[in-house]
Symmetry: C2
């Protein structure tokens, strides 16, 4: 099944636009877990089992695994989702971007080595740096557009051609990069006005939206700005506010409760 | 010793502006080597021993290791350089870029896990995505500016504020990001005019220049455009044209010869 079909099915089946970001910070693992790659894997599996009926995707952030040499725990986390919860697509958050021959290696990393359903990439190097990902028509390719961090304004908001750089990215992705229908855009939850504007530029293309929870985005404003006509079109990511809802032995139950609350809050605004 | 001091010393000691890019493609390893992580490590060490008196830096490209799960071979390659050829700085080519908390993990990956002397990063997400790297004052932080690939023009050449986006990046890096004096810029060898222009904007800041060799950049034009007053200021990278100069058992000798020729060609233009 393609990433897009898997995502659409998970939206419906779990009645959820929520993505849980798997950012396993060794320094913040619950006290009862070892501060090792094995501890990371145990943590991830507990979070996944506690939330798999409430989410439309999981998004492991590769940096947290790479920092401590836990690539094997990343591979096992993705395999665990695919074996235990095969309806839920996996987005590898890697934000790769390089010349074509190198991008082919990164596509191999994401889609073959880790068998992720989708990957995030950076558009700064242009179309030929994205094409080795885009040609995997069954996989999702999620391009940074307007990110959630304060520094996003430094370059993404610059005025060009009578618009902003991020608008140019959104238009080009919709018009050129999306020839296989497998593109999504990253739009930070912290900027609902820009989400609304990009929604107007890209039709029903799904938007991956980080920045609710720890980064403080306004959920109601975001959902109204970004939803499509059928009340979907968004993959709303929360990482730290879910993963670290409790640092005690009840961490998985607390993660479930935080995911449940966020799903309910989003669903209240989806169809009003 | 800081990256900048190590680079300046290597420029002098080896009378060389050449960087060998370590992009070990399993499909292109010499026939006598196994197509495994052990084969990659053996290949890298042979290339390094054959060229260490001719270069100012090595630049392993992490994608080639990540694609096949050879992180251990990457760590051992860098450790080999630092033990056997400690004068030569190591640039980890990773082009990372993410929000601050994630960028801290990537800085840990580059500077602690792999103990690289410098890393390449992507500026699209702005200053706060770079700061976790920049604060490592002893390390080099090499920011993409105008890259060597055809798609570089898609966004980097867009007109903003009366200039191009890549000029804005060059100016901001020189004026703001370089407060610790540890920044460099990536400027593709395929665009000597832009190299000259950026040289004018950033004083003597070193430029990492990929795109000679397999990508076809003009060496003489590049060196005249990018050198500083003392005939340095450039880290001219060649990967495939050196690594795969021969696919036979003489691959290391052929790599040495290709490096020698490129160094000579560059040095003819450095001080004329």
């Amino acid at each position: 099944m393609t990433f897009m079909a898997k995502l659409a099915a998970a939206w419906q089946h779990n009645d959820s636009l929520i993505c849980v970001g798997l950012d396993p910070d060794l320094a913040r693992l619950p006290a009862q877990l070892p501060k090792t790659a094995a501890g990371i894997l145990e943590f991830n599996c507990a979070i996944i089992d506690a939330t798999a009926d409430l989410v439309c995707a999981y998004k492991p952030q590769i940096a947290y695994f790479a920092a401590c040499g836990a690539e094997d725990a990343l591979a096992k986390t993705i395999a665990y989702i695919q074996q235990q919860h095969p309806r839920i697509p996996v987005i590898l958050d890697a934000k790769r971007g390089d010349i074509g021959s190198t991008a082919e290696q990164y596509a191999q990393e994401a889609f073959v080595r880790y068998a992720a359903d989708a990957v995030t990439i950076n558009p700064y190097m242009g179309y030929d740096s994205a094409e080795p990902f885009l040609r995997h028509a069954d996989k999702g390719v999620i391009i940074l557009c307007r990110t959630s961090n304060p520094g996003a304004a430094d370059y993404q908001d610059l005025d060009i051609d009578g618009g902003k750089l991020y608008e140019k990215v959104a238009r080009e992705v919709a018009q050129r990069w999306n020839s296989h229908g497998n593109c999504l855009l990253v739009m930070g939850a912290t900027w609902p006005e820009q989400v609304a504007q990009v929604r107007g530029l890209v039709g029903s293309m799904p938007l991956l939206v980080p920045g609710v929870g720890a980064q403080g985005g306004d959920v109601a404003a975001l959902v109204r700005a970004g939803r499509t006509a059928d009340g979907t079109g968004l993959v709303i990511n929360s990482s730290r506010a879910i993963l670290y809802a409790s640092s005690g032995p009840d961490f998985a139950a607390a993660a479930r409760e935080a995911t449940w609350q966020l799903r309910a809050e989003v669903n209240r605004c989806r169809r009003d």
